[in-house]
Amino acid sequence: MPKLPKLPAPPVPSALQAPPPRPGDGNGRAAPADHAKHAGRTLVDWVDERTSLSGGVRWMLFRKVPKGTNWFYTLGSATMFVFLSQAVTGVFLAMYYRPDPSGGAYESIRYVTNDVFLGQFVRGMHKWGSSVMVILVFLHMGRTFFFGAYKYPRELNWVIGVVLLILTMVMSFTGYLLPFDQRAYWATIVGVNINGTGPLIGPYLSDFLRGGPEFGATTLSRFYAIHMLLVPGLLAALIGAHLYLVAKLGTTAPPWLKAEEPPELREAEV
């Protein structure tokens, strides 16, 4: 394994840096103030000594990136940030939401929107965040495509990315039903019927989604379970795999950047 790079020193002018402790200060023992000063470092060291996590963290975060890396390379982490925002706001929305098809679902959403302190704001973040996530996923996919970043050896990461795209769409589709208003109801009717137009397995898939031949009480709880348990778990696991491969394989240079010839291969010197 290659030697891991050291953390960069913080950019403090040398005049302002504390002088290193001299032997003999404080009778050779650390004063309580010194202990307090180093508490954070001591804690991190304590954990690291028992887990060796710092190597992994440095492997993940302090990577070499190619020359020419630009703002387009942030679309993936932007998508992940929106996913985290969706996860956090979703967890808190679940504290108020009731998947009850005979009026309770709509009433609980109305309560969140109108009565809960900051409810409209948190629900708004979740609602608009879902659109932002879909847009960012497509921009990230476009960046990968146009920069040729899907090519060997990164094909598997493209495949995982496509699965993540599909799961994001599943999240959008299942989340759309949960407010249980007219728009949610009819959008779900139409969406499930689009599913049903797939030959042979389409009708069975529709019955699975609805929990029966007609839209019923189980449809809402099914969509709720898929939306908040099944797909988020899959998404988080696959995002982990996606990130692991990014760290392992490194990112690509933008296509307009030519590789520098090694000096020994330059024509003039041969």
Binding site: P101, N193, F208, G216
Partner: protein, 222 residues
């Protein structure tokens, strides 16, 4: 690179000088233990995974009970115009479980298709055969018109325009002893008004359509 598989080991454990080997034994105890542990793990995982899967997929195979619901007295309906009635498909979910059905009396001059004989009333579902939006009977046009994607159907519910792939679904009808019209289960029809067990919208029934979109296992023939 030397191929580690090239070297053939003797078949019997006895010949491989394994301590405590039995006569005629071919599987080492290590391999046997590994296989046993894997089998036990697979049985354990299947014990919770298969019931859960069946639990989630169960509704596909469940047959729905036949419900008949009275929608009004016989003299409420005429031969030449549709009367919209509200039918409850699912009584447990309030308004979301209701649907509008257009009902009229059987009319021998219009309903000439052989499949419609012996039907006292014609009950046409308002569920569009494209993607399931609610269609509306427009008197002036004498057409069923869908607001979503422009599906248009004629008096018999046959498609005359737009994206729908088959005519509007129908419901079985009968007259009960109190002279009330009752609506029963839904059925789908192809473009010749031949009857099929109910299909979801968007699933054609002409040609190979009825095979590409099979009837659901729980569907009952009436």
């Amino acid at each position: 690179m030397p191929d580690k598989h090239a070297e053939q080991k003797p078949k019997y454990t006895l010949e491989r000088q394994i301590p405590g080997a039995f006569e005629g034994e071919t599987v080492t105890r290590r391999r046997f233990m590994t296989a046993s542990a894997h089998t036990a793990g697979a049985i354990g995982a299947a014990a919770f995974a298969l019931p859960s899967l069946g639990f989630a997929l169960g509704p596909i195979f469940k047959s729905t009970p036949v419900r008949w619901e009275s929608v009004g007295p016989v003299d409420m309906f005429s031969e030449d115009n549709y009367i919209p009635v509200v039918l409850t498909l699912n009584p447990t979910i309030g308004e979301a479980g209701k649907t509008t059905v257009y009902v009229r009396k059987f009319n021998a001059t219009i309903d000439t298709d052989p499949y419609d004989r012996n039907t006292p009333y014609i009950a046409i579902s308002s569920r569009c055969a494209h993607l399931g939006c609610p269609v509306r009977w427009v008197d002036a046009a004498e057409r069923f018109i869908c607001p979503c994607h422009g599906g248009v159907y004629d008096l018999l519910g046959r498609r005359v325009g737009g994206p729908p792939v088959r005519p509007l679904d129908r419901f079985y009808t009968r007259v009960n002893k109190d002279s009330e019209v009752e609506l029963g289960p839904r059925f789908s029809v192809n473009s010749e008004l031949r009857r099929f067990s109910p299909r979801d919208p968007g699933e054609p029934l002409d040609g190979i359509g009825q095979y590409l979109y099979p009837s659901r296992p729980g569907a009952q023939k009436l």
